[in-house]
């Protein structure tokens, strides 16, 4: 059983919930078919799991379908994903054939909605080949497209250009396209296990269970063991700050079990940590949401020293808990942090160490950053804002190209 819309009123106010219902009234009975490539795991499925019931609650006839594909297809889509993120990989002719064949297979078995079709990410992008007459199509790209491999982007582009509107998570991810592009950031759910309030005992149990000292300052980075998250850089920054400040470091994340690169990065982190009893490198399973929540709440400062980032929602998760965050100025992170107001943006290991010392030594300033950050997340990165943007997007499909839209007919 998931929480209804009213459960969000304590976080965003009754007036915001009322506005969502007003938008829902104008979409009542409209059919929206969401299509992605997985029902479980990953951020897209996580968001759709929460979004679909809320859309239905406000009157939108929302449904969610998942495309099918074999291992070979998903190996190709993984290559596409990596190439769009800028990694030096390419598609072979065979890969292209596999992708087209899987698209054809799905077109044969799927019933496509004749109202609004909302396609998420590149895997199902080709379904637009059989666009039903009169339907409106949206392509939601969750990937950082700021520097894609040109050949792979050119492979996808002809499909993308047939959509009515493309949706990106950050301005720098957008491309030159002949269709409308809108900005819709992802969101966190304040009622999810990863973000809900926890009692102090739960927090302490998790912290002590990991061998951490709850009486000493704790510096944490929560993220996959991935080189682009620069966990080794985090250890180096910590060591620079540790010379002057008593603190413990916790690097915690998943992604090492079934990912060879993740295993290498985890091993590298453990090697760099050496025998330092104050550096803790911990791998947790993907479902350890309460544990991650507790760790974030127990932390004094949270780092997200990414070198490349999609959106970096772990930043919003930390800010929502009122924590001061020091993060790399990449991807969607500058949308979440305004430097020196709602967190700290850095570009180097030395800069990260400098600000870490500052925040450990100036707890009032650190507290203010966290408090500002929480307010920023409240207004911009909670699920309710995401729901509002999706409904506005659906309404916009009837007003393409307009800038001022009256939803009453009497005044605009």
């Amino acid at each position: 059983m998931t929480a209804g819309l009213d459960a969000y009123a304590p976080f965003v106010g009754a007036a915001t919930i009322e506005e969502l219902r007003l938008l829902g009234d104008r979409l009542r009975g409209r059919r929206v078919q969401n299509i992605n490539s997985t029902a479980v795991g990953g951020g897209v499925a996580e968001i759709l799991n929460r979004m679909i019931p809320l859309l239905r609650e406000v009157g939108v006839d929302a449904r969610w379908d998942v495309i099918r594909g074999g291992d070979e297809f998903f190996a190709v889509t993984k290559t596409i994903h990596n190439a769009l993120h800028g990694q030096p990989v390419a598609l072979t002719e065979h890969d292209v054939a596999v992708f087209r064949e899987a698209t054809e297979q799905n077109l044969r078995t799927m019933t496509l909605c004749d109202d609004i079709v909302f396609v998420h990410d590149p895997q199902p992008v080709g379904l637009i080949e059989r666009r039903p007459p009169g339907s409106r199509w949206l392509w939601r790209c969750h990937i950082d497209l700021s520097a894609p491999q040109p050949a792979v982007w050119e492979f996808l582009r002809p499909w993308v250009e047939r959509y009515d509107t493309a949706v990106f998570s950050a301005p720098q991810f957008s491309r030159q396209l002949p269709i409308d592009q809108v900005l819709i950031a992802p969101s966190i759910d304040p009622l999810a296990d990863k973000n809900r309030e926890l009692d102090p005992r739960t927090i302490e149990n998790v912290v002590t269970g990991l061998g951490l000292d709850p009486t000493r300052p704790l510096v944490t980075q929560v993220s996959r063991f991935d080189r682009l998250k620069d966990p080794v850089g985090v250890i180096e920054a910590y060591r620079l700050a540790r010379k002057y400040n008593d603190c413990q470091l916790l690097l915690v994340g998943g992604g090492a079990t079934d990912d060879p690169e993740g295993r290498d990065v985890l091993a590298e982190c453990r090697e760099r940590a050496g025998n330092d009893p104050d550096i803790h490198v911990v791998e947790l399973p993907p479902a350890a949401n309460v544990e991650i929540n507790a760790i974030q709440r127990a932390s004094t400062v949270i780092l997200q020293k990414s070198l490349r980032e999609g959106f970096g929602l772990t930043v919003s998760e930390a800010l929502w808990k009122g924590k001061p965050v020091i993060a790399g100025a990449v991807g969607g992170i500058p949308l979440q942090i305004t430097h020196r107001y709602s967190g700290i943006l850095t570009h180097t290991i030395e800069g990260t160490a400098y600000w870490l010392k500052q925040l450990l030594n100036a707890p009032e300033f650190a507290h203010q950053l966290g408090a500002n950050g929480r307010e920023h997340v409240r207004h911009n990165f909670l699920l309710t804002r995401h729901l509002r943007d999706y409904m506005l997007l659906f309404l916009y499909l009837d007003h393409l190209g307009e800038s001022l839209i009256s939803l009453d007919g009497r005044r605009a």
């Binding site: 720098q172 900005l183 506005l392 800038s403 005044r411």
Partner: protein
């Protein structure tokens, strides 16, 4: 007896979706080149979205241009000049745009080379797609207006104070006009007009508006002399 309006004040709201224009600037010359030609709604977005999105930052930074120039290009002097542009003075977005362009042009005059934004920190021009819709709430008296203000969303307050004045061409704000026309309250209307709404957070604005209504509401409880 408190005055009762013939035509009640209807609370509207304005919700926005951000359209990406694909225009980006890496230095002041590019910034001003795009600024000259973008639609007025783009100027509106970059001078107003901070108010609703960055509640905690007021009184600074009041607009994206000032913030980018100061924090990314590190041009503190120009950043200060752009922040100091008195948005409330300009009756239209076109005039506001002319002023912003003038300030940047004057600063650039003779200054070379221009500083360039680090890769990934370019200025991205965005457009506000505004959706305007009525809420079920209305007020016929001063007390009902105060009650409505207490419960209105920030988007609704912003619509009546900012959007109505600049975006749809009105020279006033909705609260002042209604108070004057319907409740014969020229003093409160004038006090609201005198406010510089760009130097408050949205919650601060709500409290300021309620504060301006409070003395008259208190006097309504007493018999008039």
């Amino acid at each position: 007896m408190p005055a009762v309006a013939r035509s009640p004040f209807r609370f509207w709201t304005r919700l926005t979706l951000t359209r990406l224009t694909g225009r980006r600037a890496a230095d002041l010359a590019e910034l001003v080149e795009h600024l000259r030609v973008v639609p007025p709604s783009v100027v509106f977005h970059h001078t107003h979205h901070f108010l609703v999105q960055h509640q905690h930052l007021s009184p600074e930074p009041p607009n994206d241009f000032a913030f980018w120039v100061r924090n990314v290009l590190q041009e503190d002097e120009l950043g200060e000049q752009l922040a100091a542009i008195d948005t409330v003075q300009f009756p239209s977005l076109k005039e506001l745009r002319v002023r912003i362009v003038e300030v940047i042009d004057r600063y650039m005059d003779g200054r070379r080379p221009l500083r360039t934004a680090p890769a990934g920190e370019e200025f991205h021009f965005q457009d506000a797609i505004s959706f305007v819709l009525p809420t079920p709430h209305q007020a016929a008296t001063l007390a009902e207006l105060a009650m409505g203000l207490q419960h209105a969303s920030y988007a609704s307050i912003a619509y009546h104070l900012f959007e109505a004045r600049l975006r749809v061409g009105a020279q006033d704000n909705d609260f002042s006009r209604w108070l004057e026309r319907e409740l014969d309250e020229p003093e409160i209307a004038a006090a609201i007009r005198r406010m510089d709404p760009y130097t408050h957070t949205m919650e601060g604005l709500r409290q300021r508006l309620l504060g301006l209504l409070a003395p008259r509401l208190a006097s309504e409880l007493e018999p008039r002399a």
